[in-house]
Symmetry: C2
Amino acid sequence: MIAGYGHTKFGDLGRVTSRELVVAATIEALEMTNLNRNQIDSIYLGMLSPDIFEHQMHAAPGIPDYLGLNHTPSTRIEAACASGGLSVLHGIMAVASGFHDVVLSVGAEKMTNLPTSHTTEALAMCADDIYEVASGITFPGAFAMMARAHEHKYGTNAEMRASVAVKNHKHALDNELAQFRKELTIEKAMNSLMIADPLTLYDCSPITDGAAAVIIVPWEDRADYEGIRVKVKSFSQASDTMSLHDRNDLTGFMTTKVAARKAFDRASLQPKDIDFLEVHDCFTIAEIMAIEDMGFFEKGKGGQVTLDGETARDGHLPVNASGGLKAKGHPIGATGVSQIVEVAKQLSGNAESRQLNDVQYGMTQNLGGSGSTIVCHILERGD
Amino acid sequence: MIAGYGHTKFGDLGRVTSRELVVAATIEALEMTNLNRNQIDSIYLGMLSPDIFEHQMHAAPGIPDYLGLNHTPSTRIEAACASGGLSVLHGIMAVASGFHDVVLSVGAEKMTNLPTSHTTEALAMCADDIYEVASGITFPGAFAMMARAHEHKYGTNAEMRASVAVKNHKHALDNELAQFRKELTIEKAMNSLMIADPLTLYDCSPITDGAAAVIIVPWEDRADYEGIRVKVKSFSQASDTMSLHDRNDLTGFMTTKVAARKAFDRASLQPKDIDFLEVHDCFTIAEIMAIEDMGFFEKGKGGQVTLDGETARDGHLPVNASGGLKAKGHPIGATGVSQIVEVAKQLSGNAESRQLNDVQYGMTQNLGGSGSTIVCHILERGD
């Protein structure tokens, strides 16, 4: 189960290192529980590129080092923008298997150190270098192609895409840790700077610094811990080809379908059982594809249902109540952990002014590259 | 258990990608068993920096992609030079826990693409960037300080260090996959180019391309598989401070002591039970410290016992019969997996002209950074 969580402010955090951000998030998580730091058995760190952003590889041992721990195993996992989700997944596996009793899964990225162009180039390396990056493709371009394909096949237009951004910006107004807390209108989003046709500025998630942490312990030991009790119902991971040209369809991610199906099967649940989602809206079109591919809406309807308000906080399936990557921010390695933190907050009644009512099951979808890695989790409210 | 292994030639392999090297090693491993590629449930990839060496992040999904697999989970682990060891450890955990039945753990690095100076700078990022790298420390310098400290405290001199290199070069004469297969003399080693006083050229492991792979399945299912049967007795992982200045002693690694102790305890074995070792001789002094810190020789005697031939292939505790990092080569992410492959070869009687007689237990020690990560494994001959 998730026993505690921590989450720094997301945004341009200035002269701070990712190590310091992780320590801040971890101390907050420890303080929620009655654990002291020396009880942590193992650490998983999700981080995309400490080398490019901070001139530091081998970042994992830096975490127990700065926490003042002695010799605690610490492992870095890199899976592009799904690094954080996989750090949680491996923390859960380590506890569920009985190898460890207390695992800290953290994610972080310190991205604002570099000029934006360098960051975009660094991120592009998560696509296929041989066929795509060498041809000049960066992620805005790749997702623009998907948006075009989706528009061509299903009529998903600019207004529908903009409605994702407007919704998530609205949600972030109630999230004190979000990078952007300003209301957005459909008109403003649609008329913003063209980034990669047809995606405009407000179709894209930002460059962000931040860290998030969760503490995972066995459900059977719940009586031993203060803090929250949020059950892990299931987790799943799937991969796909690196290159888009090797796939049959650009209007969705087969990986999301496979991973979501696995997560539902393992939990013995169906989409109708899930009360709310945190999905990977690195671009507005990505959220539209996610809610379709996970099985919550008919393929091709994701844009329309968003425009209709069905995925708003007061809709029948709230999506990204946190503000999502779009407005909460997207510090790469932190994102997948931050999704889990939001679900844990909602399921433990700690989401303050954005608290959803009567929620039992929350689900996450964390995406890496052009959907070459997908990680899903389903969490349940504990007793 | 380890059911199969694959291992490319180590060396300067020219115009090839790490993906292709991994595929080559994997196909060899699959062919040892009666498994087909679609039976692989999950993949762990140990790799230091596909981004710096090959302009490719998110390298893990590229492996199932190039293997022609559909949606198989694939996870990259980065722990500096211990990346490979941790990919094996996580493969073992995934199988031992029952989450997966067939796991492929692979490691690779394609390092010769860059000028040596760039590679050295990239590797240096595995030390502490804040205190060490910024002051100009690279790994030859860090290990030179350890060599000086060890010499000062225990009298471990240049001849003793050179004897490590001479032994490992001699061992590599019988390893067709080794990067260097030429006899070395103490005189030549001692008189070679000074790299970082007191370490000379032959005290240092080389820059190498290569990949290694193992297939891990449950011991209980051994009847279902062709190939070899090498039991996993135990594994362990420990971390230490990033900076050397935060440690009490430069003449050994506390992490090695902690990890080796854990591995012995979990296996209910003692150093005297182990028949041979593959340890992390990135520099000659590192092998000397490893065999002491693991508990095989009294602290301070590692140099003398090596000079005396006790760790030679015909000595009482053969160390690095493969040639070690020093002569077999050190493609960072591959190294920890390559150590496991060598132990599996020896324990299954497949080590050809370098086969050790009557071996039941083999142990590995894989080191990352300045010993900030250590991974140990103990394997046993199966029936």
